[in-house]
Amino acid sequence: MEIFVNGTPRQLPDDLADPALPLLWALRDLLGLTGTKFGCGVAACGACTVHLDGAAVRACVVPIGSLQGRRVVTIEALGSAESPHPLQRAWIQHQVPQCGYCQSGILMAAAALLAKNRRPSDAEIDSAIGNVCRCGTYPRLRAAIRAAGES
């Protein structure tokens, strides 16, 4: 089986590419893309958020069997060292991360939001970012999303 990740077709080993295998584990354990995190396994925390055809989805409940013809983008391709995504710049400017574990998922959720809506209201940010952060980076990530949207 082949899935299209970060602009590249990636081959998955036949013996492990069960169509029910969640995208999260294909990324982490078969493709070595560890920036996308496991948090709950039941789409309740958002740590595994990636983009599927541009929309934020929770990779722990997306079976790879559903990915034919679809484009997956992970945190590794959100920006680059030379050209970080405006959210990544804002993240550093506002000193958002603490432990950092949930941040990939939050950044991907925020990027999908800003791609549709550069000036989201507080309610729109609340509804797009349902992610769990145990370090409580919430006030800062809200400010960083606003700043990135305005940049």
Binding site: I75, Q98, Y101
Partner: protein, 765 residues
């Protein structure tokens, strides 16, 4: 010998040591380069610092980064003294050496001195002697833990001196090489120069510096600081914004296989008959490993597979006949009832261990104008770190390598050695970033389990990852606690007596048993964490008896961000609020009236009041209709925090809009990180205050994942402001201090809104 009984007997013997007291000199902790792994081109200058060929300063990092910003704060101390930009500090994992032990946490754990006896620079002789002895013992034991908000406290003197010593040697080398007086040398960004035209970076001077004596080294004067006291950006922010940061769960050594775990659902239970065939029949599954108890864990099976998902599917397919623990099923409701009965019995009979007594409570009670007595309760809590519990291990050729997100690398090494049946010298522990710790990762059960599985994978590394369900149902929980608080009020409404009798499990002896069994003794000595925040509060109440009944209910208990303070602050700061209302006084004025001998506490409270616009302080700020304010004040880990919250009731539930925090944490290394940590601690505490509860029925934890163990989300997060008192005292703790006052502040505001006093956590209207 039990570590703390060693302390206690040490204290008894310590009277003789009062004469000749001096602070344990940080010089003794500089160590030698023998402690460092030095690679080609690098030069070690002491046990902490080596210089790379390109002139970068390499710091042996002995503390774990779990979000609290300690890597940045500790690197700042070194960059300051060596006059290099923060970006020129490179961290490498400290080796296992007693040098890196945490002296401050052990000194802070010395029972049972009241803060009045340990006020820095003004210690009573017994306290001074006790701390000296414990510091000595702590040096000898060298137990390296990241916990107790102690990293900067513990490293403040030693790291600055290590860096200053390295700098002196580098300058000494330049002075000799250029035949110029050292005082004429200038250091800028790691480059040493002399007006005569000589110039060299640290890398060019390092080899000669290693052979240069240090002379009399002093750390920089406060007025010369350029970095300490600034909000320097965190050194880990970029890697934590692009997915590059490597947590334990991200380690990918070649040949890695994955393991999932399934514990006996009943805490402390074990497996009976088991059929592993259904698991082995699944594609990708390699084997099933029975896992005995490791460092306090419940028995389990691990399933090894090519991906974690395949392993987890295998774990679910195991058919196991689980057995209850021999002592019978645990039940949290029954435990809370038992705790209350034990506390009541002790309160009626001057029972429990009295951590603090003063005056004559019984006599003063007899003449009090009136009495207030209430019972407060707190439930078991889970940590729920965002990064699920995991550890990666490889056992090959008699050597063990462990990659672990751990707060206790020495304990991890010991359990790994035990699990593999090798000596500790055969074990290497690599500490990764921690995706949250909050005390959970002071336990090393998962390290023993991972090494056990790695014995079965033919030399290939294995990564053991717990599901969220396993995490919530097999944690070391914040202990449930009950406290009976009784005060006698004088005719002015102020308390003349305070009797607090609490009951709950002690954490430290249980943690010692599982993590440091060689040091655990047969008898528990009183654990200060049970009563911290109660016995050491500084309200000027002349007659007090603050005691605790230490129980052993059988639920695995562990350290949870701010430990005993997390619930004890709720008990005492809610109760003081009750007393203020009983006396018909403003709760903030009432506290100030009790803080006449605690000027630092009063100053923090006043600062919070001014910034929050509390009526009567500064510019009174009207509050939105439907909202009320609540206040709480609490000292923990050497720092004092006041919080004033604004709360309303939204669809029948409490909603916290704004939290104004004032704090005196002594010298501030990085105010930006302090503000970040206060925000963090407030939101962590608010999750617990509104939702946090672990229920155990028939030995089985009922909360299984975030839907049943809810935590705060963005839409509920309050605005948090932090205001710091200017101070030249040595630094106090930071990571935990914002947690304790939040729950009582919210409860106190809810009382204003509803007239109903909530005396149990979580706060449910």
């Amino acid at each position: 010998m039990n570590r703390r009984s060693l302390f206690v007997s040490g204290l008894g013997a310590a009277g003789a040591l009062v004469v000749g007291w001096s602070l344990l000199p940080p010089r003794e902790r500089l160590g030698t380069v023998d402690a460092l792994p030095v690679e080609q081109g690098e030069v070690g200058l002491n046990g902490w610092i080596k210089i790379a060929a390109d002139g970068a300063v390499m710091l042996a990092m002995h503390r774990s980064e779990m979000g609290q910003g300690t890597h940045t704060a500790l690197a700042m101390l070194v960059a300051e003294e060596l006059d290099v930009p923060l970006g020129r500090i490179r961290l490498f994992g400290a080796a296992t050496d007693r040098l890196y032990g945490n002296v401050a946490t052990m000194v802070a754990s010395v029972p049972y001195f009241h803060p009045r006896e340990t006020e820095r620079g003004n210690e009573t002789p017994p306290a001074k002697a006790g701390q000296w002895v414990v510091a000595k013992i702590a040096r000898e034991l060298g137990i390296n833990v990241t916990g107790g908000s102690s990293s900067v406290v513990d490293s403040w003197d030693v790291l600055r001196l290590a860096a200053a010593t390295a700098r002196a040697r580098l300058l000494g080398a330049a002075s000799i090489a250029w035949k110029q007086p050292a005082v004429e040398l200038v250091v800028r960004d790691g480059v040493v120069s002399h007006p005569s035209g000589h110039s060299a970076h640290y890398g060019e001077l390092a080899r000669m510096a290693a052979a240069t004596p240090t002379g009399d080294v002093r750390v920089k004067r406060r007025e010369d600081w350029r970095l300490i006291g600034t909000s320097a950006p965190r050194i880990d922010a970029a890697a934590k914004s692009n997915g590059a940061a490597v947590f334990g769960i991200d380690v990918r050594p070649p040949g890695l296989v994955f393991a999932a775990i399934r514990h006996c659902p009943m805490l402390g239970g074990s497996p009976g008959a088991v059929d592993i065939a259904p698991a082995l029949a699944l594609p990708g599954v390699e084997r099933v490993v029975r896992i005995g108890p490791y460092a306090g864990s419940t028995e389990a099976f691990a399933v090894v597979a090519k991906t974690w998902w395949h392993a987890q599917r295998g774990a679910a397919a195991l058919a196991v006949d689980w057995r209850q623990r021999p002592a019978g099923a645990l039940d949290s409701a029954a435990i809370l009832a038992e705790l209350e009965a034990r506390a009541r019995a002790a309160a009626a009979a001057d029972g429990g261990f009295a951590f603090h007594s003063r005056g004559d409570v019984a006599a003063a009670d007899a003449s009090a104008a009136r009495h207030v007595e209430q019972v407060y309760r707190a439930p078991y809590l889970a940590h729920a770190t965002m990064e699920p519990i995991n550890c990666t291990a490889r056992v090959a050729g008699g050597k063990v390598v462990v990659w672990a997100p751990t707060q206790a690398p020495g304990l991890a090494r010991a359990i790994a050695a035990e699990a593999a049946g090798v000596g500790e010298d055969a074990v290497t522990v690599h500490v990764t970033y921690l995706g949250g710790g909050f005390g959970r990762r002071l336990d090393v059960d998962f390290v023993g389990q991972a090494v056990r599985v790695a014995l079965e994978t033919g030399g290939r590394p294995v990564q053991l990852v717990w599901s969220r369900e396993e995490d919530l149902s097999h944690d070391f929980y914040r202990p449930a606690a009950v406290a009976i608080l009784r005060a006698g009020l004088g005719s002015d409404g102020l308390p003349t007596t305070l009797r607090i009798t609490s009951a709950g499990d002690a954490i430290t002896p249980r943690w010692m048993e599982r993590g440091l069994p060689a040091l655990a003794g047969p008898v528990d000595t009183p654990d200060k964490t049970t009563s911290e925040g109660l016995f050491d509060q500084l309200y000027g109440i002349p007659h007090q008896r603050i005691s605790h009944v230490a129980t052993r209910m059988g639920v695995p208990v562990g350290y949870w961000r701010s430990v005993g303070h997390s619930h004890n602050a709720f008990f005492v700061e809610s109760f003081v609020d009750e007393l203020a209302h009983a006396a018909q006084r403003d709760p903030l004025d009432y506290r100030l009236a009790l803080l006449k001998s605690a000027p630092r506490h009063a100053a923090v409270l006043r600062l919070a009041a001014e910034r929050a616009g509390w009526p009567g302080f500064g510019l009174a700020r009207p509050i939105a209709p439907g909202r009320a304010r609540g206040v709480a004040l609490h000292e923990s880990f050497g720092s004092i925090v006041a919080q004033i919250v604004e709360v309303s009731i939204d669809k029948g539930r409490p909603r916290v809009h704004r939290v104004v925090c004032a704090a005196d944490i002594g010298t501030v290394v990085n105010p930006g990180i302090v503000a970040q940590q206060i925000e963090s601690a407030v939101i962590f505490a608010l999750s617990a205050a509104l939702y946090g509860q672990i229920d155990i029925v028939g030995g089985v934890v009922q909360q299984t994942n975030f839907p049943s163990y809810p935590v705060l989300r963005l839409d509920e997060a309050p605005a948090v402001e932090t205001h710091l008192i200017d101070s030249t005292r040595p630094p106090g703790g930071v990571g935990e201090i914002g947690t304790p006052p939040l729950a009582p502040a919210v409860a106190n505001a809810l009382f204003v809104l509803t007239g109903k006093r909530l005396r149990s956590l979580p706060l449910q209207l």
